[in-house]
Subunit: 240 residues, 2 copies
């Protein structure tokens, strides 16, 4: 029987975080820690990822990448899309870097892209080693990673219409202003403040808590929380 | 540099069709055309699929499988999910069949599953060579293909809530009865006839045509059509 050189299979993770003002995506600099002569010239930024290990489930590889990088478990993580063009490694810099980094002869890599939503305020072991890039200003990236980030943003925009994903990005207690800003960024449009407050006043799973902002120049805003149980109960009632 | 035996990458297609009464999925019998002693014993039914060729985009491989099998192009086709467990080939029968069929030494296969929606009334070259299995009664299948079909049904159930996918499955002209039956199967629940008609009366893209059923025992029902342009116009207005 013929043995042929199959594609490698990798995972890449689009990890989104929200700092209260802008939606960010986590990137890694391939040149970090390398002396100048060893650095890859252009597009040194890439998504975090890994080859899938021999005995590892593909989904498990994505969980591993996320865990190693952020120290966090139980994060919202979804398969996004497979990027399987045979031209993914057509840039020589990318292929060279990949063969050095993996110490493998590489012909083709099919990658399974995932997207994850994390709460940015939580302390993470990766801080200082990664770049949180504003999603409104994504530069050219290594491989086809810019396309993958854009696909992640499109998926997020679609999903927030049906699922309460914004609460995966917000801190446990948040203001209506933060909630509105996040929706505005994801959907790429401005909302009228009064209409927005009117809409969300119907969300029974959005609950004010007995606490307000402190040390702010303006009138302190009320904090709210997402009541997941209430949401799940309402959803169940609606669909049954 | 080390060369290791990577996983093979394949595509598998969950192709749905609706015959007016039930929602079907297209399956292939591995034993078809084989003499009894060459046949695989249990679970001979599988999804149509293929290894991805060396220079072929993964999505292109799915389009190829669909075209070869049905003769149809411009079919609704979406990536569903990657099935990447290292145990996918753990059944000896499955592995034996696969090595014989592909004439390759195979260690592991990561498969990218797609789902497609087709109009069953169109003549297809594959007729007679495939099995259209009722989705309400899926038997054990080869590999993890039963899980893949179930994942396809789940995705379809979710997507029909937001996209007019049912019209990909219905003939060009259809009755309200057919439309309701299809929704009932996909969503797995019965609708009250009057409420259903009331709901859809608000769909401006659902248009009666100047034709009724013929040769039926009951009162002939009005035919309707889906006005795709009207739908796209309304959607655009809604989102802008």
């Amino acid at each position: 029987m013929a043995v042929k050189l199959n594609p490698h299979v990798s995972v890449d993770c689009v990890i989104f975080g929200f700092d209260g003002q802008s939606l960010k995506v986590l990137l890694i600099d391939r040149n970090l820690g390398l002396t100048p002569e060893k650095q890859t010239a252009p597009n040194s930024l890439k998504l975090p990822g890994s080859m899938v290990y021999d005995d590892e489930d593909v989904d498990t590889a994505a969980v591993r990448v996320l865990k190693e990088l952020t120290g966090l478990e139980n994060i919202y993580l979804q398969q996004l899309k497979v990027f399987g063009s045979p031209d993914r490694l057509s840039k020589k810099d990318d292929l060279d870097w990949l063969q050095k980094a993996t110490r493998m002869t590489i012909n083709r890599v099919v990658t399974v892209a995932y997207y994850a939503l994390i709460k940015l305020h939580k302390a993470m072991p990766c801080e200082g080693k990664v770049i949180w890039q504003d999603t409104q200003n994504i530069p050219e990236l290594a491989f086809d990673h810019r396309d993958i980030v854009i696909e992640g943003l499109t998926a997020l925009r679609k999903e927030v219409q049906y699922e309460p994903l914004v609460f995966e990005l917000l801190p446990k207690k948040f203001t209506i202003r933060q909630l509105q800003t996040l929706y505005e960024i994801i959907e790429g449009r401005k909302f009228d403040n009064r209409n927005f407050r009117k809409s969300i006043s119907r969300w029974q799973y959005l609950q004010p808590i007995d606490e307000k902002e402190k040390n702010v120049a303006h009138k302190p805003a009320q904090f709210y929380r997402f009541d997941k149980r209430a949401y799940q109960r309402l959803k169940k009632e609606f669909f049954e």
